[in-house]
Symmetry: C2
Subunit: 241 residues, 2 copies
């Protein structure tokens, strides 16, 4: 794994006292089990915007829980084309793809200054054998990722450009709200190019869709600051009508 020098500051930090506990690993544990969980993740790493958390082909050793900031993941084709496969934020677990072959199959790049907790996977497996609720939770995290991916396939395979953007914005809104942030005031961490890659569109198409939404009074957009004005109509747009 590529860990830039700025990331060498590693701090001991306890899951039991983490304010993301309810989002990240919300398992119901006894005091003793919680103490064992604290042994699991003993290191926190820092990343600056543009730093790689891991690259394609890197050896897999640990999952990572995002403590602050955000990352994008992407896969590459031999001819250089890339596809952004996800935008991850605080409380989310990153690196599940690599369990399959012990090698990372996508790469993860910080989109801003970010911190992650390292979760050594071998330890996590031992612990989840001993703590059924942790085992259950690990399974749910992986399954949730599969469900998320299915949703993106639906989006890429059968939605039109504006439907895709609406779905994307509603998803961001919902995740923002889940963190106690505004459901309507969004600060985009990613460029039009990156949004386009994620949604299978060109950046110009993304930009035009934003402009069109604004003309229609669905939102107000100023570069990366977006205010969602009409959530219900955005929802009908994505076919949940």
């Amino acid at each position: 794994m590529m860990v830039p020098s700025s990331a060498n500051t590693s701090l001991k930090i306890a899951c039991s006292s983490c304010n993301l506990r309810e989002i990240c690993l919300p398992v119901d544990l006894s005091g003793n089990e919680m103490a064992r969980l604290d042994e699991l993740s003993n290191h926190k790493h820092r990343f600056a915007a543009g730093d790689y958390l891991y690259r394609i082909g890197d050896q897999f050793k640990s999952l990572h829980a995002i403590r602050s900031g955000s990352f994008k993941t992407r896969v590459l084709q031999a001819d250089g084309r890339e596809q952004v496969t996800g935008f991850l934020m605080a409380g989310e677990i990153i690196g599940l793809d690599a369990i399959s072959t012990d090698l990372h199959t996508c790469e993860a790049v910080a989109m801003e200054n970010s911190e992650v907790c390292e979760l050594p996977f071998a330890k996590l497996e031992v612990l989840s054998r001993e703590i059924p609720s942790l085992q259950r939770h690990l399974h749910k995290i992986m399954s949730r990722e599969i469900v998320r991916d299915q949703g993106i396939m639906l989006l890429l395979g059968s939605m039109r450009a504006e439907e895709r953007l609406a779905a994307f914005l509603l998803n961001l809104s919902q995740r923002n709200a889940a963190h106690g942030l505004s459901a309507t005031q969004l600060k985009l961490r990613m460029s039009r190019l990156e949004i386009g890659s994620y949604l299978g569109l060109k950046l110009e198409t993304v930009s035009r869709a934003f402009s069109h939404f604004q003309e229609d009074g669905l939102l107000v957009v100023k570069a990366r600051a977006v205010e969602l004005i009409d959530l219900p109509r955005l929802r009908t747009l994505v076919g949940k009508s």
Copy 2:
């Protein structure tokens, strides 16, 4: 779960004597552990073409291993649009999406007469706590599904029609070969409409791509019988150039 009457024939069957063992659950087990695994999957169910293995919203209790035949999985949008998310064949595990919420988020339909082994998930979790290599394998199966989904996102998000079809055919070819079948003689189980849904294309586009490939000497197609003539050139088409 919806189990049609024809499926009520359930047979006791042992993993230890199953000829798909190397594909399905290739874990390295002691004799004692193998005996325990045999307790896991005690029932086999039959399905005819068009039967549902499960529907969206069904309660989740078991994963299923496909013993023979094939299934398609699909997700639906409220307005009726559908997206085929996968074509599964013998040895593959189906139902991983439902672990997340204990409800199925996609539906699975048999594409021909098929048999599945039921794997009660609660038992699987107990067993995988006791048998580390089984735990590891379960994790790998789930991660592999995530990797597969990433590949489809890449396909849907950044490949053109003919590249998508080439990638699809090469994937079928490879899986056929993994089962000891021909890598070049393919008998498609799915219609052009279903292929189109999977690849984010209309059936006419799929049909035209087939015709074009045939004109170019890449393959010979006659309805659902496809013979791949030029595998290397098909590979260059999907951008592995």
